[in-house]
């Protein structure tokens, strides 16, 4: 009996890990303690420089990100881990640019009328690098900021829209609940999968069509379970006096000296990097 249980336990661990990759890694570094709004703005500025900035700055940005990762006390594995889910997309992006960019053909690398060009090689590499920088920026943001802090920050950013009737508090709560129930969702999926596997369903055999078919059998029970959960959760929230309207948070956001300093550095760097492109 014990031996039979092992594979399912392993699958459970895997799912547990899944919900952790690319997510918040608790810590007490300067980066962790920064106001989430500063971190969000800095990440947006980084993206702007990556997409619109001059070509050379990417090296500077990469070094900068590595510095931030070091200060946050993370291992550099975060760089490869965060790329894992999109590795095939990045590869495709590279290959497409490699073959479909007009330019000087690299002699021996040519098959059936498609050929690798020098421009393609450069373009492919830069586009992939750009993407990597965007993903790394987002990964550092989510790894150093707890979901609830992000949600409060979003709530504060949306505040001006409240005047035109946007229910920003409700949007923030929705985001909050989605974050809370993501691991529960995975657990439930695993429970249903196991329950069906125990009754003879085979998920990892057969052709792709058959696999889709057996996997779709998970959908209905999952949906049922979540509608029921949602009903109960709504009742529990209401019972704790949840209603549309002003809410307060346990940890309110307040900009401290370091936050202003960090914001100033981010803005200054953005300006400098754009300027350097002009001058060089």
């Amino acid at each position: 009996m014990k031996i039979c249980m092992q594979p399912s336990n392993m699958a459970r661990c895997e799912i547990g890990r899944m919900s952790v990759t690319g997510q918040y890694i608790p810590g007490d570094s300067v980066i962790h303690r920064l106001d989430p709004r500063v971190k969000i703005i800095s990440t947006i500025l980084l993206s702007v420089v990556v997409l619109r900035g001059p070509a050379g700055v990417w090296i500077v940005l990469s070094l900068l990100l590595m510095g931030v990762i070091a200060i946050a006390g993370f291992s550099f594995r975060i760089l490869t881990n965060s790329l894992k889910p999109v590795r095939f997309f990045l590869l495709l992006l590279f290959v497409l640019h490699l073959f479909f960019t007009q330019g000087k053909i690299i002699g021996p690398l040519s098959w059936w009328g498609v050929s690798v060009t020098e421009e393609g090689l450069v373009k492919g590499m830069t586009v992939v690098w750009q993407f990597c920088l965007l993903i790394w920026g987002a990964a550092v943001l989510t790894a150093t900021t707890s979901p609830s802090q992000l949600v409060i920050a979003i709530d504060r950013f949306l505040k001006p829209l409240k005047k035109i009737g946007v229910p920003c508090q409700d949007i923030a709560t929705m985001a909050f609940i989605a974050l809370r129930f993501f691991p529960v969702f995975l657990e439930e999926l695993e429970n249903i999968r196991e329950a069906q596997a125990a009754r003879g369903a085979e998920f990892n055999t057969g052709g792709p069509l058959k696999r889709v078919k057996t996997a779709s059998g998970l959908l209905i029970p999952l949906l049922f379970s979540f509608v029921r959960r949602a009903e109960n959760l709504a009742a529990a929230m209401e019972a704790r006096a949840y209603a549309s309207g002003p809410r307060s948070y346990m940890k309110d956001l307040r900009m401290a000296g370091t936050d202003y300093a960090a914001l100033a550095i981010a803005i200054l760097l953005t300006g400098l990097l754009f300027l350097s492109g002009r001058l060089l």
Binding site: P26, S146, P147, S148, F176, I177, L179, R180, P183, V184, E187, R229, N232, L233, A235, A236, M237, E238, A239, R240, A241, Y242, A243, G245, P246, R247, S248, Y249, M250, K251, D252
Partner: protein
């Protein structure tokens, strides 16, 4: 005081009523147990106490405030806390601390006050060392304790527990029951819904519900020995009470009044001493 005045309720028109004219008073500082078989309307009744459900007719008054007035609903929900059966679906936060802060946050309290309340509530339930943990890493018993802390953080006067031990293992169940007694000692009015008869022996008053009406009320000592009547309603007496009752049926001279194992031992010991067994 919570007053229910002749409340009737059904889930939608044309459906059989779930509650049929319930009237009762829950005095402040009491420990009221509400028992009844499954689907007798216990949960629906509880949901009326803080206005999650509104009666089709009749009225619920909490310290004089009616649940029908949307303006006072927030105050009522602060006064009356509700702890649900399934701890999984009542935890909202992504960490324990955050979840406990949800209620006071809804009351729009200042951050410092929320933090103070979260600390006190977690200490009361003995979870102060788990504040940063994610809810899905907690055991069922711990989740239920967090859910109770979440209600405590709103400083309620009444807490209604809807079968709070139904999903728990025996150890966790004992811990939650102990907590209920402690809260009652500290002055919180406890309304405890259950169908486990051995959980009601500490109550001041027991209400027996069947098919949407209150069919009996009294102290545990009055209700529990009425074993045949309880069976008719669809409930079983605690085993010790039933044992004494059976002995009596067989002609032994024992009083079938024991509620706990200690009571029963004493009772039997006395009977043996007098040669009645």
């Amino acid at each position: 005081m919570i007053k229910a005045r002749d409340i009737s309720f059904s889930y939608g028109r044309g459906q059989d009523p779930v509650l049929k004219g319930i009237s009762l008073d829950i005095p402040e500082g009491g420990y009221v147990a509400l028992i009844g078989p499954n689907a007798c309307g216990k949960t629906s009744f509880l949901r009326h106490l803080d206005g999650l459900l509104l009666p089709d007719s009749g009225e619920v008054l909490v310290d004089g405030l009616t649940t029908r007035d949307p303006g006072t609903l927030k105050k009522i929900r602060q006064l009356v806390g509700l702890v649900f059966q399934n701890p999984d679906t009542q935890i909202v936060g992504t960490t324990v601390e955050e979840d406990v802060s949800f209620g006071p946050g809804n009351l729009n309290l200042p951050s410092a006050e929320i933090q103070r309340r979260v600390e006190t509530a977690l200490e009361t339930v003995g979870m102060e060392r788990h504040g940063k943990r994610a809810p899905h890493t907690l055991s069922s018993g711990e989740k239920q304790l967090v859910a109770i802390a979440g209600v405590l953080a709103m400083n309620p006067r009444y807490i209604a527990f809807d079968e709070p031990t139904a999903n728990l293992d025996p150890t966790a169940r004992g811990r939650v029951l102990e907590l209920l007694k402690e809260l009652h000692r500290e002055g919180i009015t406890v309304i405890h819904v259950t169908h486990q008869m051995d959980e009601i022996v500490h109550a001041d008053e027991v209400l027996v519900m069947s098919k949407g009406t209150i069919v009996g009320k009294g102290s545990p000592g009055e209700i529990l020995p009425r074993i045949e009547w309880l069976k008719e309603v669809g409930l079983d007496a605690p085993r010790v009470t039933e044992l004494l009752w059976r002995l009596r049926l067989m002609g032994a001279d024992v009083t079938p009044k024991a509620l706990t194992l200690d009571d029963a031992c004493e009772n039997l010991y006395a009977a043996i001493k007098h040669g009645a067994l």
